[in-house]
Every structure is written in C-alpha cells, then in structure tokens.
C-alpha cells in the first residue's frame, strides 16, 4: 500500500499547487500566468478525457482536437447569432444552453464517427480518427458565416448564475473545479465494472469476447464519453479565448493532446494533468528564449519517448510499479 500513498501525496501536492499558485500570481500583478494556468487546466481536461480511451482503452485517437474545436464552436455559434442576428432559435449567450449543446454535439459526433472508426484497428484506427477530424476542419473552414479560416470572434462569454466568466479568477476557478471533476469521473469509470472490461479488452481482446462481452459497444460508449468531455473542455476554451478558429482542430493539436497524456503517464489519474503542466510550462519557457524553440522541444519529445517509459508518473513513482 505504501506506494499508493506516495502517489496520493504527489497528486494532492500537484493539485494544491495548481489551485493556489495561479491566483497568487494574479494578485501579485502577473495576470498572464493566471491565463496560462486557465489554458493549462482546460487542456488538461481534454488530456484526461483522451486518457480514458487512449490510456485505459488502448485506442489511439489522433483526432481528439476536433472534439475540442466542435465544443468551442457550440459556444461560439449561438453567441455569434446573438450578437449579429440570424437563426433566432439558436441565438443565446446562456451557458445553460451553450455548454449542454457542446456536450451533446460532440457526443453525437463521437457516436457517429466512433461507430465507423472502431471497426478498424491499430494504425488504421489512428488514421481514420485523424481523417474525421480533418473533414470537420475543412467543413468549418468552408462556412463563411462563421468566419471560415479566419475563425469566429465572440465578444461575449457564456452567462451563468453566480459566476462571471469575464472575471479571470472565476474563469480559472471553473476550469480548475471542472478538471477535478473530470479526473474523479475518469477514476470512477475506470474502477467500475465497465472500466474493468475496457481495460481488459486493451490487454486481451479475445479473452473478453470469449467471456461474452460486446467489446465494440463498451469501446463505443467510452469513445462517446471521452468525446463529450473533450467537447466540454472546448466550451471552456471558447469562453477563455473568446475566439474560435478551425486551427484548434488541426492534426498537430491532436498530437499535442496525445503527447500530454504520454508525457505525464498514460492510464494514471494524475498523468495527463502532469503532462499538460509540463507541456505548457516548457513551451512557455523555451519560446521566451528563442524562436527556434521547436528544436529543443522536439528533442525533449523524442527523449521522453525513447528514455522515459511510463512518462513523468513512471519517474515519480519509481520502477516498482512499471509493469502495469
């Protein structure tokens, strides 16, 4: 049991630091670092939800940025119509419409694409998830009403009772609490019978099939949950940037999400969050030194893949647990 406690301690310390440090930065006149922490928390939610299918389910989705982007557009499009008219039934700034819309749209998209993608395996799965993301990318680019390639500028954030998203501290608070909830949710799912089947299928698919489980249905359900959570992250991201662009769905963005999960440690609760923190902080530090920061960044990426198996969590918790 001792290593579990150690892991629990690490999680508690990291999450506490993430809760306390950004507001301290803000109150000492470093507002930019609060923004950084908000973006980090939002991307961490996306990474946590990708981890559900990638880490626990063994399904390497290379198109998760599309869910983030769709979620953001679900906030942006109603706001756009509220600001500039057209499609009255959709025009609203209410968060109680926008956020459920983001979740519903992404869940539906995950259901449709997942039904096709999950028929394939291995690299075929990696590439077909990317293909669907590219399709959505080009579809959005072609809709002039919503800015096409230029993206959608929304000068208004979702309206919610009690919290004012225009206040950066409250927006960070929402993102942070959402991240905690997302982590708990994934933890609960993976400890349930459903999660056990999902993880079992990752290790030995045939055995689970022999045991009478409909693996396809389990995976599709996980894919939909993961997509919808990413959609929620997208809704937060749209509110944070007040600007939504198709670039959010680019395949390299999907790659970054994957990297966060692997860097931190796949199939762990804290891993994706650690990965997101490391990713954003390193990117920020390197890019402030040189415009050629992609070079050391790429080397670091390769180094992590080549030498740090199990990601940061693997390093933190020592070698004993490696064989999970």
């Amino acid at each position: 049991m001792s290593f579990l406690t150690r892991r629990g301690w690490i999680s508690a310390v990291v999450m506490a630091l993430l809760a306390v440090l950004p507001p301290v930065f803000f109150l000492t006149g470093n507002a930019f670092y609060l923004d950084l922490a908000t973006r980090l928390s939002i991307l961490a939610i996306a990474a946590v939800s990708l981890n559900l299918i990638l880490g626990y389910g063994g399904l390497v989705s290379f198109g998760h940025a599309a869910f983030v982007g769709l979620g953001a557009y679900a906030v942006g499009i109603p706001a756009h119509h509220w600001l500039y008219g057209g499609l009255d039934f959709l025009a609203t700034t209410s968060g109680f419409v926008q956020v459920p819309l983001a979740v519903a749209v992404t869940a539906l998209f995950a259901l449709i694409t997942g039904a096709v993608c999950l028929r394939t395996k291995g690299v075929y799965f990696i590439m077909i998830t990317m293909a669907f993301a590219q399709m959505i990318y080009y579809l959005i680019v072609s809709i002039e009403e919503y800015g096409g390639d230029d993206g959608l500028v929304i000068d208004t954030r979702s309206e919610l009772p009690l919290i004012d998203l225009d206040n950066p501290l409250q927006l960070f608070g929402l993102a942070y609490v959402s991240l905690l909830v997302a982590m708990l949710l994934v933890r609960m799912i993976t400890r349930s019978r459903f999660g056990m089947v999902l993880q079992g299928a990752k290790g030995n698919e045939e055995r689970m099939v022999t045991l009478g489980f409909n693996i396809y249905a389990y995976r599709l359900t996980a894919y939909v949950i993961s997509g919808a959570m990413c959609g929620y992250a997208g809704a937060l991201l749209g509110n944070f940037t007040t600007f939504i662009s198709p670039e959010m769905m680019d395949w390299s963005r999907s790659g970054e999400l994957m990297f966060m999960v692997i860097l931190g440690g796949a199939a762990t609760t804290l891993g994706p969050v650690l990965g997101a923190i490391a990713f954003i902080v390193v990117e920020e530090i390197l890019s402030s030194f040189t415009i050629y920061w992609h070079l050391p960044f790429g080397l670091m990426l390769m180094g992590v893949v080549l030498f740090a198996r199990g990601g940061l969590m693997g390093l933190l918790r020592g070698r004993r647990e490696d064989g999970e």
């Binding site: 630091l17 006149g29 600007f243 650690l274 992609h294």
Partner: protein
C-alpha cells in the same frame, strides 16, 4: 516541478518592474514556419525605424519587443496577451494575418492599449468592429484589388480568370476586384489554404487557359506566390494570359524568382499603396538604408512596419509620456510623421486615406529585379467599410 514553478515565479516578478522613462511597443509577427520570411522583413524594418529615431521617441527610450504568432491565430492571441499583461507594453503593432489580428484585437483593446496593424486589414475592423484605439498603417483588404479592377478596365480587359486561396482574405481580394472590374469573370478558383495549402496549380492553370480569358488575376501571398509564378512561367502563359496580381509579387519573392531566372514575372502588373521608387525623402532614406543593411529591396510589409513605428514615435514625442491616452489618441490620429508614402492621413475609421499605384516588375540599373510605379490608380482612396464604422 516545484523548482520550475519557483523559476517562473522569479522570472515573472522580475519582468514586472516597469521602466518608467521608456515606451514599450509589442510587435506581433510570424517568426517561425515558412511565413517567417515576411516576419523577418517586418522585424528588420521596425529595427531600422528605431535606429533612424536614435532609439528615442521624444525624450523616452524606445523599446520594441518582438513576439511570434506561429502563423496561427491562437498563438498570436497568446503572444498579444503576454505582451499586454506581462510586458505591459503601451502599443501593440505588427500583425500580418487577418485572423491573427481578429483573434488578438480584444486582448489589446480591452487592456486599454493602442493597436496598430502594420498589414492585416479585414473588413470587420474597418467597419463594424472599428475602435478609437485601433489604427492601421496598411489598408483594408478590398482596396488593393479594387485598384486592380480599375486598372483592368483602363487596359480594356474584357474577360478575367480569378484565382485566390480559400480563406477570408482570399475571398476579400476576389470580392474587391469584382467590385470595380466591369468585364466578365469567366472562371473563379478558390484553392485549399492553411497548414497543407495547395501549391500545385496545374489543374487550375489548365482551366484558366481553356477559358480563353484576356487576363488572370491572382492573390497568393508568401511562399505560394513564388510557386504560382513559376508554374505560370512553365505553363508558357505569359503571352496568352497576362498576369495581374495583388500581394503576390513583392520584394520578398522577387530575389528568389531572379535567382531561379523566372523571366515571366518581368513586366507583370500589380497594385500597391507603396513602392520603393516613390519619390520622397523619407522613402529614399528608408529604401537606401534597408538595401545597404540587408542587401535586398524592402517589401511593402517592411514599409508599413517602418511607418507603424514612426507613427507611434511621433505621437509619443508629441505628448511626452505614455499615460495620457486621450492626448496620445489625438496625436496618433493627427499622424504627423514622415511616412514613406509621402503625405499620410487617417479616415474616420482610423484607416489610411491614401493613393494606390499600378506597379510593373522591372530590372533596376544594377539589374536587380524590383518594381516601379506606372501610374496612380486611385487618389486619396477611402475604403468601402468606413461608413459602417460608428465612431
């Protein structure tokens, strides 16, 4: 992890110590990806402006902080946020791309900073999204192709084939030329743009040739411009399908085209609000010093960036501090500086009211390929969206 955070904390605290006797200008442009060729040119021009000013705007030290937008709106917005919130700049300028400017606009304006575009000119920002703290030293997207449409009318072109990338500025360019061109548009191709932009135009050029048009109008900024010119050259269309372009043939693509000896570009026509051959003292000094330092002619991106720094410096020098926003705004609007375009004035929506010239690609006295002014197409032209601006 803790160490890392302490490190950032220390870095953060250090950079907040504001330097009272200086004026800080944030300059957002593209310094990575292939589009860095444009950003580097702008950076060179901005540095030259600072040098010409002796590093001072009046009594205040002038400091320009460059930031990379990575050719992506979200990155550009983050760069703007950092300049505004962390470096606490007084002005933000640069901006090559419409989408980066639109994404960053709110960050700069909400923080009460002045935002000066040195290139991007999407229609929204000249019209319904205009702002008293936004200024431009470039143009509104439609204006340059509108001038080209007028040129086509004067040259008796009756039918035209149109090509542009499929994104907002591309569509603005097409809309612009169609607004003034009176002949017939016999074909229109919007090609794939973005991270995996289409650079092989064989299918489109074949269609253009088959259409039998009197001329072809294109808009391909950056690397795509060079690619287009080459294929136009290889397809042997120079005599049958004369090329009329905007923002495609410029000070950045010409050295490359000359190195590879793509003769088809010589004699091609393009419209612009500025040209290295414009006859005024500020421009002569700018072009000569730029050439001496970097070995090439400056591009229009460079000229606009130079003007942006000069405009800001003139306003700060006049007011004497960076605190009095109302006085600064009035001083910016007055635009009392030596522009490389000659006289410079703003319209009601803070976009320049300026001339547009027809330029032709020629070889200069040393044999270097450049452009020269053929005629003035528009005088004191006001953009089409000024009326939509409620200010």
């Amino acid at each position: 992890m803790k160490k890392l955070l302490t490190l950032t904390l220390a870095a953060g605290l250090m950079s907040t110590a504001a330097w009272a006797e200086s004026v800080k200008i944030g300059f957002v442009t593209t310094l990575t990806t292939g589009a860095a060729i444009i950003g580097t040119d702008m950076q060179n021009a901005a540095n030259l402006a600072v040098e010409h000013l002796g590093g001072k705007a009046g009594n205040l030290d002038l400091e320009v902080i460059f930031a990379d937008d990575g050719f992506a709106p979200e990155t550009g917005k983050q760069a703007t946020d950092k300049l505004v919130k962390q470096d606490d700049v007084d002005f933000v300028t640069g901006y090559i791309w419409s989408h980066v400017l639109l994404a960053s606009r709110k960050s700069a304006l909400d923080a009460g900073k002045f935002l000066i575009s040195a290139n991007a000119g999407p229609s929204q920002i000249a019209g319904k999204l205009c702002d008293e703290n936004f200024f431009s030293t470039s143009w509104q997207n439609d204006q340059t192709p509108m001038a080209m449409g007028e040129v086509l009318n004067r040259q008796g072109v009756k039918s035209l084939y149109v090509m542009a990338p499929n994104y907002a500025a591309g569509k603005d360019m097409v809309a612009g030329v169609e607004r003034t061109f009176k002949g017939e548009i016999v074909g229109r191709d919007l090609t794939k743009w973005g991270a995996d932009a289409q650079l092989d135009f064989s299918a489109e050029l074949a269609k253009a040739k088959a259409s039998g048009a009197d001329g072809i109008f294109v808009f391909y900024p950056g690397a795509a411009g060079g690619a287009f010119i080459k294929q136009y050259d290889q397809a042997g269309l120079k005599d049958t399908l004369p090329l009329y372009s905007v923002f495609t043939v410029d000070g950045l693509s010409l050295p490359k085209l000359q190195a590879a000896n793509f003769q088809a570009v010589l004699g091609s026509r393009t419209t612009q609000e500025w040209d290295p051959s414009l006859d005024n003292a500020a421009n002569k000094r700018f072009v000569a010093d730029f050439k001496a330092k970097h070995g090439t002619y400056p591009s229009f991106y460079a000229a606009q960036s130079y003007d942006a720094i000069m405009l800001i410096a003139s306003a700060v020098a006049k007011v004497g501090n960076t605190e009095d926003k109302d006085a600064l705004r009035a001083a910016l609007k007055a635009a009392e500086f030596e522009s490389v375009r000659g006289d410079f004035k703003f319209g009601t929506n803070n976009m320049p009211v300026q001339n547009f010239y027809l330029r032709e690609v020629v070889a200069d006295a040393d044999g270097t390929w450049t452009t020269k002014v053929v005629e003035t197409v528009f005088e004191d032209h006001i953009d089409s969206y000024a009326a939509e601006c409620k200010m």
